[in-house]
Symmetry: C2
Amino acid sequence: AIAVEQRLMICADCDGMIEVWSRQPHTLLTWFASTRTKRQTNSQVLTKGQGSLLALARSQDFILTAHKGGLSGDEGLIRLWDLGSIEHSIGSASFGGSSNRSMISLLSSFVSFKSIANPKHAKDCYNTAFFLKGVIERLLPCSVKVIKTAPAHMPVVFARIPATQPNRPTVVMYGHYDVVDVNPQRGLWDTDPFEMEGRDGYYYGRGTTDNKGPIMAAIHALYELIEEGKADASTTCRLTSECPVNVILVYEGAQETDSAGLVESCLEVKEWFSSLDPTNSTILISNTYWLGDRVPCLVYGLRGLVQFTIELSGPSHDLHSGIDGGIIQEPMVDLMKLLGSLTDDAGCVQVEGFFDGIRTLGPEEQEMFEDLHRDFDCGKYVESRGVAQLSPSLQDAGPTDILQRRWCQPSLTIHGIQSSVFEMSLIPHKVSAQVSARIVADQDAASMVDAVQSHLFHTFSKLQTANELNIHVTRMVDSWRGDFKNKFYCAAQEAIRSIWKQDPLYIQEGGTMNNPLSKVLPGVPTLHLPIGQASDRAHLSNERIRWENLVKGKHVFKEFLKNLEAQCYDEYSCMLSCNGVVPCELNGLTPSSRCESLKESALTLDD
Amino acid sequence: AIAVEQRLMICADCDGMIEVWSRQPHTLLTWFASTRTKRQTNSQVLTKGQGSLLALARSQDFILTAHKGGLSGDEGLIRLWDLGSIEHSIGSASFGGSSNRSMISLLSSFVSFKSIANPKHAKDCYNTAFFLKGVIERLLPCSVKVIKTAPAHMPVVFARIPATQPNRPTVVMYGHYDVVDVNPQRGLWDTDPFEMEGRDGYYYGRGTTDNKGPIMAAIHALYELIEEGKADASTTCRLTSECPVNVILVYEGAQETDSAGLVESCLEVKEWFSSLDPTNSTILISNTYWLGDRVPCLVYGLRGLVQFTIELSGPSHDLHSGIDGGIIQEPMVDLMKLLGSLTDDAGCVQVEGFFDGIRTLGPEEQEMFEDLHRDFDCGKYVESRGVAQLSPSLQDAGPTDILQRRWCQPSLTIHGIQSSVFEMSLIPHKVSAQVSARIVADQDAASMVDAVQSHLFHTFSKLQTANELNIHVTRMVDSWRGDFKNKFYCAAQEAIRSIWKQDPLYIQEGGTMNNPLSKVLPGVPTLHLPIGQASDRAHLSNERIRWENLVKGKHVFKEFLKNLEAQCYDEYSCMLSCNGVVPCELNGLTPSSRCESLKESALTLDD
């Protein structure tokens, strides 16, 4: 089968091999998206499989091939070959033009910046911020500010695109260009984490899903929306503005640590925030993940977090276990007693007050939990964790039990223990443990700190020891719960329905996300709209994002913004009919047709 | 005050400054033995203190100065300035000549080799072995073998000096040229650990006391003994041989790890060992330390050691504490329960069988314990450890209680805990703890392994967990107890009396030393003759040995060998008088005068 694209010719043979030829110069470029080899840029056909190619289809951005057997011996496999990446591999990345290609090309550059959340990479973060500024300025009709309020802070990138029409809602898109370190995972990555690579329909690299991919998808959603708006404006008499809503972009560089400097930076553009109507604005964050890999989700809850460092010290220096063993009460022994007292034999937390103040689920929420089996399989969950079984209290549990435990119950983890010695002849004089507690809705961080500290000090007081216990609280983040029925969630739900052709799952996350913008914008509700899948491996080796999720994620963002515009007409129309707020399920029409019909009635009324 | 030494002129001024002038070329060399500055080789006087010099005395090897006030503000301080080192600092190290100067000069070179017990330093160890070979060959009349039986092994240096007379005892001197790593202590050293530096009467550097200093002292003891023997032989008609006893030197390079290859290497020189009479031989080891800093000691007991790595694993990879916290039984939590169960609230070990089979002390040994207050002060001990108090069960304990706990009771230490994660958002899928137990006389390592393993597996069986427990025994060394009344201990006791003018303390050590030579030479008793002080900081930063201990240690070795020779005459004389073994306390004469008088009677008898 042969397909010809503007500057490329794609040939597929019966062995399941795809060859890509560049027409100028005439060079064979072979790229195996489905194998683990690197992109090939020489003219040799490297692998011949045994499978047969059944069919080939080509769109502007990708080729779809159907195989029987094949290079990796798969049966009845359908593969998506990403043309954007092939183009990128021959160095023809371009701004604009096909938005998907630009998105991949720019994401690849974005990933190549080692913007690690670490002072050693301050220079990289600085360069990344200015790269991002350049991207936004070239794609969107707005000016961009890069603000850094202290030498130790990472710069924050701000941009604003006002809606052409007045009284439109404001969407503050908040993301981060910093990424977590890869050093502790050295050797676990299959490819260079800072050289984005396409494989099996996924893009691999540090930051692809957390959070560079979603940022590029959002910027390209705005780009397409504005380009379409321009085209519409010039050819029709629609009311559609170049930008249908007010947009403020806030991309920071310290989200993975403590968002230091973000609030201060926001003060520098406070006129942007002060002019916004809190009852008609949202903070849009795409920094969470789907529950599984199949069904798109909306997130309405996050657990909070309290982190402790528990330090025990005694002797002024390390001692020799031969000379002093048995004579000195060792700090490590005390620490083991303390940490051992935190749980019972079944691993249940024994800290008094640990489970106090947990929110009871209402019937509607209970019902939402029942829906989650659509993309959550208990057996697969256990298997993916590589454990023989779950916690004793969760034997034979179903999705609802497991997910309520994850989202609606606090948990305790002991991450690691530091000893002042490195060799087996010495007694450490100082040891410390990193312990954290996740807290849930209606619990607060301060009460959890009290509970854990009280338990530890009380247990310690029973030990006969002259060693010293110090507890440092290193992080406190409250839990979060959003109103999943507000108009922004409705607009997002509708966007997902329209793009993914299915209803989203309403989920929470067991993880924690600090949202410093909520301090800057009190009263403005947050909408968590994830575009990545559960298997994206954020923070881990081989972090990735699916090509389809990037592209459809972009479309969801675009549709979400269009729906907000449509809601304006709905509200306008409702206001006219004195009908109050329109539930989002009400209207069977698509937003754009709804918009068209409303435009007409609006014009009629104006008359 | 001014003193003139062969090639140096020493001037001391009233500010407590000492200037050392080399006479050829005329250069001012200033060396502040008492300050922490590095050796100065330029002509500027760098520091002027406020103290005044009261007196100065000079011997061949050192200068003694008495101060009031001074550079460091000390009151009534007496300082020993080491001329050997001054000479070394101007590059005039010489073999032979003054033995003390040669000893320091060669020790300084010996310390400069980074013979760290680690495969990465295999090349350094190789070079060190050949340096040692060169030293022995140039100082002693013997051939030296360097033997390496496998690529992974460190070479072992062997030398043999047969006694001139037949039927003399054999002393196998066993030491090691490898040293423990300094990396974990980086930053804690005041000076470069591999550049030996003199300060306040001590030499600082890695290996100065463990074990390079004692090796150099022993080699120079033999050197002096043989030189004196030569002189005697040429000027008098004494029976004294060039070497009074048979000596075999065994210096290995893997003692700090596992002595890998030592036994195999010994097989290569098995004719040396097979010819030796086990009833008339000893293994002499100087790799232990005094009880305190004042009274010389003989060591007759060592604790044994069992080391474990306790490993807990569950999930196949690290998990996220937000996503999976509360659902998975965490391996770290299980490990804390296990380790917490090892002790009670007072830190007493709760392992069944841990204290089984401990030897009861006889009345004579009890009495020896009472003597130890001569160089052990409980208050100072507690202070030096930098602890508020000792273990609860040792409150208000005296030296006997504390030292019996250290030497005659087993103990348990948890050294460190490894976690597979490095950041506070992850749940480690695998954790492990390093735990060791010291065992005492009449306990054996295998029983201790059983006791600890049984406790851990039993406790683990009560936990409701699907995680996996693995226990690895990484090291097993039995305890050791020597016959402190044999003739070698007697000869050593007498040597110490003669050199240090006081009776040694008979002590044990809480530490452990593997003695692979005892396997090569079954039935040959070991003599542990320490020359370093308790404060030498073996294995720690700022390891050191006192100048006086090096010099007197050398003399003790020399006197010990002479005493063995004298014992031969005693035994000969006793045999003649049919009197059995002579108790070492019997003879009030010094060994040499005893030797002289015996020589005469032997000559008489020969007639």
